[in-house]
Symmetry: D2
Subunit: 344 residues, 4 copies
Amino acid sequence: MQIPIFTQNPTRPVEIGDKSVSELMDAMQYTGFQGRKLAESVKAWENMLKEEKVTIFMGLSGAMVPAGMRKTITYLIEKRLIDCLVSTGANVFHDCHEALGLKHYVGSHMANDEELFEHGVDRIYDVFAYEEEFRNTDHFIAEFAKKHDGRHYSSREFIHLLGKEISEKGDKQSIISSAYRHNVPIFIPALCDSSIGIGLTIARRMGCNVNIDQIKDVDEITRMVELSEKTGVVYVGGGVPKNFIQQTEVVASIMGHDVAGHEYAIQYTTDVPHWGGLSGCTFDEAVSWGKIAKEAKKIQVFVDATIALPIVTHALHEKTKHVKRNIPSFTWDAGVAEICFETL
Amino acid sequence: MQIPIFTQNPTRPVEIGDKSVSELMDAMQYTGFQGRKLAESVKAWENMLKEEKVTIFMGLSGAMVPAGMRKTITYLIEKRLIDCLVSTGANVFHDCHEALGLKHYVGSHMANDEELFEHGVDRIYDVFAYEEEFRNTDHFIAEFAKKHDGRHYSSREFIHLLGKEISEKGDKQSIISSAYRHNVPIFIPALCDSSIGIGLTIARRMGCNVNIDQIKDVDEITRMVELSEKTGVVYVGGGVPKNFIQQTEVVASIMGHDVAGHEYAIQYTTDVPHWGGLSGCTFDEAVSWGKIAKEAKKIQVFVDATIALPIVTHALHEKTKHVKRNIPSFTWDAGVAEICFETL
Amino acid sequence: MQIPIFTQNPTRPVEIGDKSVSELMDAMQYTGFQGRKLAESVKAWENMLKEEKVTIFMGLSGAMVPAGMRKTITYLIEKRLIDCLVSTGANVFHDCHEALGLKHYVGSHMANDEELFEHGVDRIYDVFAYEEEFRNTDHFIAEFAKKHDGRHYSSREFIHLLGKEISEKGDKQSIISSAYRHNVPIFIPALCDSSIGIGLTIARRMGCNVNIDQIKDVDEITRMVELSEKTGVVYVGGGVPKNFIQQTEVVASIMGHDVAGHEYAIQYTTDVPHWGGLSGCTFDEAVSWGKIAKEAKKIQVFVDATIALPIVTHALHEKTKHVKRNIPSFTWDAGVAEICFETL
Amino acid sequence: MQIPIFTQNPTRPVEIGDKSVSELMDAMQYTGFQGRKLAESVKAWENMLKEEKVTIFMGLSGAMVPAGMRKTITYLIEKRLIDCLVSTGANVFHDCHEALGLKHYVGSHMANDEELFEHGVDRIYDVFAYEEEFRNTDHFIAEFAKKHDGRHYSSREFIHLLGKEISEKGDKQSIISSAYRHNVPIFIPALCDSSIGIGLTIARRMGCNVNIDQIKDVDEITRMVELSEKTGVVYVGGGVPKNFIQQTEVVASIMGHDVAGHEYAIQYTTDVPHWGGLSGCTFDEAVSWGKIAKEAKKIQVFVDATIALPIVTHALHEKTKHVKRNIPSFTWDAGVAEICFETL
C-alpha cells in the first residue's frame, strides 16, 4: 500500500532559544492545534501582502480599543496591511475617546459592580472607564453631528469626516485619523448600535437631521469588491463586521459580477462552529455559499484577539519591513467608486 | 460560629418519573450548574409575566428560524410572553422565506461544502437551503421595497409594513405577520447586514430610494423604555440585539429620564465573559453601567438556544395558561410614542 | 441536475403546545444545531436499548452528584439503561457522602470565596458543602479501607465492596449500592485522584496496605468488551472515563480480538474539538483510531450535562417503560470474566 | 468624592515596533482581556522563580507532545523552571515514542477519518501518527515492564526508571530522560489510562506482575508539599494533573500539616468555570477549599496551551538567563522523602 502523502512531514518540537517574534511564529508552523494555526495565519497574511492586487478587508469586533489594541489597528492602517476596515461602532467611539485625551483604565474582572456603579465606573471585563467621560465623548459626537444637519451619509462618509475632524485637532495616533490620512475606508454597518448612535440620537432629539444610510454602506463596500481583482479578509471576532464583509460576495454575484469568493480568509475567534452562528462558522461553510473561494487559503484561529493581534502584528512588522506592496486606492465620486493601485 | 445562611438549602437529586416539562423544570431548580440556571430562567420569566406593568424586550440573534425556532418566536409574540422583539435581519429574512412557502432543510454539519456549492446548497451548520430560493426571497424584498420608493422609515416601521404584506397574503404563522397583528414592534438595528439588506441594495441599484433610518430606531426603542414603568429583557444570544436593548437605559438616562436599569434579565448564551465582549458579559458587569438594576433578577444560562427555547417555552406554556397578563401596548404618532395597558 | 438527497427533508418548526418530555424531544429532531442533536441522542440511546446484545458503557465526569444528578445515575443503573459505569472518583465519593446522610447545598457562583473558606464551606461553582462533613466521609473511606488491609483489588472490586457496605447500611438510592444490587460494574481508573484517594492515603499512612491495581482495571474492562457482541458508549463529559472506555477497543485489538469499534456513541460535552484533546474530540477522529466503528451511530451534543441528563433520562423513561431489554450480565472468577444475557 | 484607587492606571495601547518576545509580553501587561492575562502569567512565573524556596509543580494535560511541545517541557525541566511534573500518561508515552526515533506528523483536522483508518493513520486533531508505530512503542513499554516483574512502584518510581532506560539509550532531549538526569519527579496519577497502560496490560496478560501503586503517588507528592516551605503551581489544561496537585493541600491539612494553600497559581486553560468542573474552575473557588492561599498570586489565562507554552517559555528564557534560582531537590529513601536546596 502506498504511503499517503499526508504523513511525510513530522511535527518539529519548538526549540527554546533566542528568537524574534517572527522566528517564533515560523517555528510554530510545525507544531499542532491552535499554536500552529496562529503561525499559519501569519504566513497567510504575509503571502496575501506579497501578492499583486489583493484588496484586504478587516472586520473588527469586540472591545479592542479599551483593551489596548488601538495602536495596533492604526499600524495596520498606516502600513497598509489592510485596505478597508469594517468595525463595530464601539471601537471607533473608544478611539475618539482616546483621541480626545480620555482614557481606559487597567481594572479587574473581579470588581464589585454595584460599587463601581456608585463610583460612576463602567466595567468592560478587566478594563474600567468613567461614565462621565464617556458622556463627554457622546456629546462631542452629538456636536459633530449637528454640524452636518440635513446631510445624508453612508457610515463610511460619516467616519471619514469624523476622522478629518480628529486629524485636524492634531491627533496622529487614532484609527480614524490615520484612516482619513491614508485613505482607508471605514464602514460601521450598525453605527447606531454603539455610543456613536447615542451621540447621534442626542443630536436627533435636539432636532438635527443627519442621516446614516445603511443601504449606501452595502452598496459602497460591494462596489469595492466588484472593482477589486482579488479580495482577502481578516476577521477579528465575528459579529456584524464579519457578516457584512462576507455578504459582499453574494450581493456582487446577484448583481451579475463574476466573483468567486474571497481568496484569502483569516479569522481570530473565540466562537465555535457548532452553535450554528455566522460568527463561529468555518470558512468551509462559507464555501457552500460562495462567500469564500473553494481554493482560498483559509485559516481560522481559536484565540482571544488581544493575544493574537499584538503577536501577529509584531511578526508581520518584522516580515514586511522591506516589502513593497501594491496597494489598492479607492475614490468615490457621487456614489461611483474607482480603484487604482499604487506601490507603498 | 453562626451557620451562614447560604448553606440551609440542600440540593435535591432529580427523581426520574412521569413529569411534565414544567414539572421537570421545577425539579431542576434544586440541582446545580446550568441545569439549575435553565430552571431558574423559567421561574424568572414566569415571575416577570405575573408582575404588573413590565415591558418585556427580547433580543434574538443566531440563525434561529432555519433551526426550527420560528413557531416558538411566533408563540411568544401571540401569547404576549414578550412585548418587543429586537432581531438580526437574518431571522426575519428566513421568516419571510418560510412565509413564502420556501423551506430550510435538515442537513449535516459534516457535508462537503465544495459539493454543496456546486449543487447550489447553502449550509448553516447542519441546516441546508437552496441559494436560488434565497435569491427569490431577496427579490421579493427588493420588489416590496420598490413600493416604498422615497419613503423614510425606522426598521420598526419597515418591518411592520412587511408584516402587513405577509399577513395580507394570508400567512398566520410567521413572526412578522403575528407581530403585525398583535402590535408587537420588531426592531432590526443592523437591517442591511442581512439578506434583507441585500434585497434593499438590489432595489437601491434599481433606483429605489427607500431609506432605513437607524437613528430613528434608537430614538423609538428608547421612548418605549422611557414610557415603561418597568422593563425586563430576554436575550437569545448576544450580538447587536443585546447591545441595542442594553443601551436604551444609557440613552434614556442621558435624556434625563429616571431609569434604573432593566429589572429582569435573562440570557441564553454560548459566549463567555472572559473574552471581554458584550455578547458574553455578565449582567453584573451591566450593573456597573446602569443598564441592569442592581436589584434585578439576573439569570444567564450557558446553553445553545435551540435547546433552551423549545424547553423553556413549553414550560411557560404550561405555567401561564391561566395567567391574565397586563400587557403594554405602544402606538406611534409622528414619532411620538404612547403606551397603554390592556389585560390579555 | 439531480436534486441531491440531502435536501428532501425540511426542518419543522417546533409547535408549542401540550407535550410530554419525550414528545418534545421527538419534535426537536427536525430542528437544527444542538437542539436537534439532543433529540437525536435520545433516539440513538433508545435504539441502542432495543437492539439485541449490546453492552452499554457510560463514562461519567464532572461533579454530577453535587449538582443533583445522583438519582438520575441510579435510575440508569436500576432500569439498566447502562451496563457498566466508568466514573471519576469524586462522583462516587459524593455519592457515599449523600448515602451517609450528608448533603450538598444550593449555593451561588458569585459567593466570596475567602469568606466561604473562613466558614469552612467548599464551593463547586454554585453548590456548597461543608469541609468538615467531607472530612467525615474521608475518614469513613479510610476506616472501610482498613478492613481490607493487605488486599489487592481492581477499582471495580473495591467499589463493589464499598457498594455492598453502603447497601447493607440500608441505603437504596445511591449509585454504588444500586450498582452492587444490580450487578453493574463501576470502574474508577484514577481512583486516588479524588477524595476516595484521600481516604485511602489516610489509611495508608496508618499502615494499611490495601492496594488498588489499575492495570487490573484495564484488563477487566477490556475483557468485558472482548466478551460483548456489540458495545455502545455514552459519555457524560470527557476526561479519564471517556479515554478509558475508548482505549478498550485498542487493547482488545492488540490482544488479537476482532473488534471493530463501539457501535453506538453518544457524548454530552462542553469541550470542543479544536483544542486537540480527547475530551472534546469528535467521534469521527475516534474512527481513525478504530475506537469507534465507521458505521456507528455517532451523536455528540454540546451541552452542559446537568441540562442533558435529566431531560434525556425523562424522555427515555417515557419511551422505554415497556421495552424488555436483553441485558448482559458479567461475572468474574479469579480474573476470568464471563458474560450471560438475561431479559429485564 | 474620592477617586477610587482602581482607576489610576490607564491601559497603554501596544506600540508596534522591534521587540523581543519578553518585551512584547511586558508591553501587553497594560492591555486588557486574555492578552493581559498571558503577560501577567509571565510576570507571575518570573516572580515565582526569583523567590526563595518555592517548589513549583506543573500539571500537564492535553496531547502536548504530538503538538510539538516536547522540547518546551524538556527546557522547563532542564532549566528548572519547574520542580515536579504531574502529567497524563499520553504525554509521557508520546515522549517515549519520539525518544525511540518515531514521529508525529503535521496533518489536517479536515481529513477523512475513514480513509485515515484504512491507512492505519491515527488523528489527533491536526496531527497524525501511525498506529503500527504506536504499537511498537506499546510493546517497548510492555518489554520494559517485564524487566520489573514482581515489583511494586509509585508512578514516579516507574517513570524514573523508564527515564533512566531512555537516558541510557543515549536520548538527551526527552522529557523523562531529562527529568531523570535533573532529578525532577514525574507523577502520572492515571498511568493506565493511556498507552502506557496498554503496554502494562500487555505485560500483565503475559504474566508480568509489576504493580503501579496509586496510593503511593498521593502519599509521595503530598510529602513533597509537606516538606516545601512554599509551593507554586502551573497548570497546562486541567484534568487529573490539576486535581491531583490541588488535592495535596487537602491531604497535608488532614495529616495535620500547617499548609495554607499554594502561593502562586497559573493556569492556561480552554475550559470555563460555569460547567462546574475542576478543570475550568477559578482559583478563587479553590480558595474556598484551602487549596490556594487567599493571598496567592492567581493568574488564569484562557488560551490554547500550544499558543501559550512556546510564547511564555521564550519570554521566560529571555528573562531568567541570569537568574540564579534556589531549587529544591527531593530524595526518597524507603518512602521517606527529604528536601534540600541548591543554587542552579
